[in-house]
Amino acid sequence: MRALVTFLASRLTRALIAVWLVSTVVFVVMRLSGDPVPLLLPADAPRSEYARVAKELGTDRALPVQYAVFLGHVVQGDFGRSIHFREPAMGVAVGYLPATAQLGLTAFALAVLVAVPVGVISAVRRNTLVDHAVMAVALVGQSAPTFFLGILFILVLSLKAGLLPTSGRGDWTHLVLPALTLGAFSMASIARLTRSALLEVLRQDYVRTARAKGLREWRVVAKHAFRNAAIPVLTITGLQLGTLLGLSVVTETVFAWPGLGRLAIHSIYNRDYPVVQCVVFLSALVFIVINFAIEIAYGFLDPRIRPR
């Protein structure tokens, strides 16, 4: 019990440090980008206007004070007002969250549902044509740049074959290509890992015992081998959820998907920095929370790593 509490505490500390570091980087970058006041005012505004806005934003105060105030705002989820949308940045960003969540979760589900069976088949049919072909595709999928994969899918499946729409958000057909693009890297990674984890387990003595007592091969694989191979697969699979979040910026841009990533890119072009900061922070927060949840779940699942 004490080990478990220590474990939870150490993971929570790490998550909090990560959140603090992200906010600090956001603050530093914001300050490095220069004075925000001229961005908010017309070029011919009088000096008194500058002083008023500087006071309003707090940029007339000492840096450590600004930093403290900033952290206070971050805790309350306050990143200031969007210059473009003219409403609180957090509200804007949260509005774009569902589209990203929909795309991310679909891509994730697609990746897992394809990769795990494929990895198992590859391991069971080791060194056959099927195995080699699947692993070759997985290797390409793992090193292909996400945005180019999206472009290829659009060219071949939308424009040439006319099967699916090229961009935008609508019915489920709009979701297929972006989800496939976003999930490709994870799919490839999970398939390769499932294969190697299962191969590792299939070599173990208890698998030989299971076979020796006359169990059918599919039972050996499904009941004895797969359950044990599942632990490393689960860890990597969880981490992939975070990778998906990072890659969704690119995928959303390629497919004009109205999510957080596209909002970030648009806000950069519009020099709408409160929104940029907010999106970066919000995504980092989601990522950190996911990782934290996975580590906790993992700690409960695998008693061996708990005390660490």
Partner: protein
């Protein structure tokens, strides 16, 4: 990652060793082929002005969106076609290798120096130095750095130094973690104590005895990071946050051709295929190099 101890005992050790030797030889050839590819690409990048049939930024309104041809409207060959401004895609693709390799290698240099130094420092010094370095490393791994990179470059504005610094620093953790654990092991070896007892200075021990021992690990990570850096640069250029036009970069070209995918697919697809090939070859070379130099690094 769970460390795996091979359980199977080979029936015939000699046979197994012979097979291992053959595998190693094959891996060596593959690594050499990968290195050859990168060398060739570097030669292309350096010799781009002589290899390119056209000026990569010269526009030609009459020769816009020409399909790959050996005899274009201007009477000259455009083997990979022209783009929406009539620029030669082959020439731009060749020049694009410059940006990819320059940013890639510079970023790897930044990442390996920073990450390597911090990893060796953390491993050698231990104590609170180690705690601070590893906490920051863990924290960096705990959020999507690509997103932060986009935010940073978006706010600071894209420039070569910013790009190199951001891409380079996005990869420092890998070097630091692996080198730290290696140095931890090395430091406890007798030869380090012996040198210390003989009055050897710590920087000298690190430079003369620790560094050569971790060099092969460093090379493996640097190769894997090179592939990552090239893809990240192309991604940022694609998003308009990398090297700015009119300088040709693969990511930028893919972005420019996106609007014309239906009518002029060659603008995006040729540089994209070269990018994909480069990423695949470099990352596979890293895997092979790891198998050859340091099988303990295997993570999958």
């Amino acid at each position: 990652m769970a460390s795996s101890i091979p359980v199977s005992v080979p029936a015939d050790a000699a046979l197994e060793a012979a097979r291992g030797g053959r595998v190693a030889q094959r891996t060596r050839r593959l690594v050499a082929a990968g290195a050859g590819f990168v060398l060739l690409l570097a030669l292309v990048a350096v010799a781009a002005p002589w290899l390119s049939p056209h000026d990569p930024v010269r526009q030609s309104l009459r020769g816009r969106l020409a399909a790959p041809t050996l005899e274009g409207a201007d009477g000259r060959a455009h083997p990979l076609g022209t783009d929406h401004l009539g620029r030669d895609v082959l020439s731009r693709t060749l020049y694009g290798a410059r940006v990819s390799l320059l940013v890639g290698f510079a970023a790897v240099a930044v990442g390996s120096v920073v990450g390597g130094a911090l990893g060796i420092l953390a491993g050698y010094r231990g104590g609170w130095t180690d705690s601070v370095v590893m906490t920051v490393a863990d924290a960096q791994l705990a959020f999507p750095f690509v997103l932060l990179a986009i935010g940073i470059i978006g706010v600071l504005g894209p420039s070569f130094p910013t790009l190199v610094a951001v891409i380079g620093l996005s990869g420092w953790v890998d070097y630091a973690r692996v080198l730290r654990s290696q140095v931890l092991v090395l430091r406890s070896r007798e030869f380090v104590d012996a040198i210390l007892a003989l009055g050897g200075a710590v920087p000298r021990i690190v430079a003369r005895h620790i560094l050569p021992n971790v060099l092969s690990t460093l090379v493996v990570i640097a190769t894997l990071q090179l592939a990552r850096a090239i893809v990240l640069e192309a991604t940022l250029s694609f998003l308009g946050l990398g090297i700015q036009p009119p300088t040709p970069s693969w990511g930028g070209m893919i972005q420019e051709g996106r609007e014309y995918l239906d009518s002029a697919w060659w603008i995006s697809i040729f540089p994209g295929c070269l990018l994909l090939l480069t990423s695949l070859v470099v990352s596979r070379s890293g895997d092979w190099l790891r198998d050859l130099l340091d099988p303990t690094l295997r993570s999958e």
